[in-house]
Amino acid sequence: MIVSKRKPTLEERRGRWAWVFIAPWLLGFTLLFAVPLIQSMFYSFSELSLSPTGLQLDFKGMANYRNALMEHVDYNRTLTEAVLNMLLNVPLVVIFSLFVAQLLNQQFKGRMIARVIFFLPVILASGVIASIESGDFLQSAIMGGGNDPATGAGSMLRSFELERLLIQSGMNELFVTYLTGSVDRIYEIVSAAGVQIIIFLAGLQAIAPQLYEAAKIEGATGYEAFWKITFPMISPLILTNVIYTVIDAFTSNDMTTLIQETAFRQFDFGLSAAMSWIYFIIIALILLITTYSINRKVFYQ
């Protein structure tokens, strides 16, 4: 009786220390996140003008939202492009990173070097470097075509034959172009997959080897072992990675540049806030739908 009464109090007393540990974050969260989030909501409904003494807010109702969705020249197009690009890239990146993690998890000579190389994009293909690289034309000229298929014979050659072959063999044309398009964008995909590979690799290493041994004794092939063991065991991480990839795809694209430019070039802070709120709501919806639909199929131990 005494023991059962005392134990929670000890735990609780210890629990008070937690507030000390999370205090810095709590402070940052309220002052630098929660308050700005609410403020930004207000801004999106009003006209904001900056003056040396402070800022002035004039309530405008839904005008900023109407402006973004119905009047702005670029907004709708950029938004749809961002979403479509994301829908196109996320499955590719996730499947690719699972595949590479599976490769890197096996025993072979030079595995260490291979891992070092495969994690390199985590470091190099982020932020400003990636954005400059895509617009550089000496490099793309040397690489043969690069981003613009009309100028380079190189990129035409790369997948044109494959495309014809696949279409002739009776596959769906849409699917074939998607597939060959992804072959052409392999660098983009590789460089977006760094963190996901790490997460999958860590997950693969956490699977108990006994499971594979037992399956092998029962006569399972590698193919069966993958779909019956690896895939279910790693499915929570597939969810994690899908979410991570979606967020990653959304943090830096034309849309975010547009939002930034509206705020700091045209100084239309209200419109920028409205744009970013629409953007955030769409991201949240996409994340909700994907999480919900994947979560039903995820196998939790």
């Binding site: 735990e11 609780e12 629990g15 008070r16 937690a18 000390v20 540990f21 999370i22 810095p24 974050w25 402070l27 940052g28 969260f29 630098l32 996140f33 700005p36 403020q39 930004s40 801004y43 900056l50 003494t53 072979f108 260490m112 291979a114 891992r115 070092v116 190389i117 495969f118 994690f119 390199l120 994009p121 985590v122 470091i123 190099l124 982020s126 932020g127 400003v128 470097i129 954005s131 400059i132 034309f137 000496l138 490099q139 040397i142 660098y187 790490i198 997460i199 690799l201 860590a202 004794i217 943090t251 975010t256 939002i259 930034q260 705020a263 806030a273 970013s276 709120w277 953007y279 955030f280």
Partner: protein, 340 residues
């Protein structure tokens, strides 16, 4: 495998059976051998091919950086320059103000890295190893900070730092608060309070790591009379080195490459990432003023060559850093417990 055969031998002691089993095993093994050797080749091709895809742009940059201008229009020069030169490097280093910019970038990244690691490890530990009211709600708020795009709170954040005020205290002395834009203070404040670049993700990583850590060690420390902080600093932190290295590398590198926060908080191009954004224009401008023929007379290929050199110089510190920590990093991935 041997256990299984042992069982078979024990249960069915007829010699014929054993022979049949052995024959089967031999056949099975050879088939396995063929399959595995084919797979080894396929795997090697795939890994070498993908490594090539990753490394090629870097190698290309190295090659471009060492190539002399004369070789640009020589179609017989491919990848390996005929006239090796350091001219490009010299030109870019003086144009970019390389030493100063690198030092600034290093200072900024190192500072945010240290603060981020301290705060996020504390917070991660707080979420992993204590039970308190509202823990789940608060942790879902951590996840929320990952999900909300930074652009959504961009304008208030900017205004916040432009007229920085702490509970109206600074406003008492200085009307309108302090203007922190253009200094490193916004980075210090945001990373010290766990609101910096992708800090939510780092908190998540630390929490997962501390959660997977055996609870008994902590209890032993408690029994031996160690307080909460002593346990954390002397037992948990030394064991969290894999997670610390991962977070350090990520936060340093992402800060180094970041343009979103640096363009917002710093008004001049004093760090590497903002410098890189405009380096093409800077080089073109300098070329046109020195040659005197206007911007139109600038050779775009030469500019591109110099831009490539500058990117190489910008990522050089990162590559050096990565080479130093790669062993710990790659190993730590296996034990970080990002997975939980």
């Amino acid at each position: 495998m041997s256990l299984m055969t042992g069982k078979v031998i024990n249960s069915k002691k007829e010699g014929q059976e054993v022979q049949r089993w052995e024959r089967f095993q031999q056949r099975y093994l050879t088939l396995e051998k063929v399959k595995s050797s084919v797979w080894t080749i396929v795997r090697a091709v795939l890994i070498i091919g993908l490594s090539y895809v990753i490394l090629y742009p870097i190698l290309l940059k190295v090659s471009i950086a060492f190539t002399h201008r004369v070789d640009l229009y020589d179609p017989t020069v491919m990848l390996i320059p005929r006239n090796v030169t350091l001219e490009n490097f010299e030109y870019v280093i003086s144009t970019m103000n390389y030493a100063k910019v690198t030092w600034h970038s290093f200072l900024l990244s190192a500072m945010t890295m240290v603060l981020t690691v301290i705060t996020c490890s504390l917070v991660g530990y707080g979420f992993a190893r204590f039970t308190f009211k509202g823990k789940n709600v608060l942790f879902s708020l951590v996840i929320l900070t990952i999900l909300v795009p930074p652009q959504t709170i961009m304008v208030p954040t900017y205004i916040n730092y432009r007229n920085f005020d702490l509970f109206g205290l600074i406003g008492l002395f200085n009307e309108g608060g302090l203007n922190l834009i253009g200094s490193y203070w916004p980075f210090v404040i945001s990373s010290a309070t766990g609101m910096g670049l992708k800090a939510g993700l780092f908190i998540f990583i630390f929490r997962q790591f501390f959660k997977s850590f055996p609870k008994e060690i902590e209890e032993a420390a408690f029994v031996d009379g160690a307080g909460v902080f002593k346990t954390f600093f002397q037992i948990m932190l030394p064991n969290a080195i894999p997670a610390i290295i991962t977070v350090m590398l990520f936060s340093f590198v992402w800060q180094w490459n970041d343009v979103y926060y640096t363009t917002m908080f710093l008004d001049n191009a004093s760090v590497m990432s903002t410098q890189l954004q405009t380096v093409g224009a800077t080089i073109a401008h300098r070329l046109s003023t020195t040659s005197g023929g206007g911007v139109g007379a600038v050779d775009p290929f030469y500019v591109s060559m110099l831009v490539n050199t500058s990117i190489l110089l910008a990522i050089l510190p990162l590559i050096v850093l990565y080479l130093f920590v790669q062993r710990h990093f790659v190993e730590s991935v296996e034990r970080t417990g990002i997975v939980g």
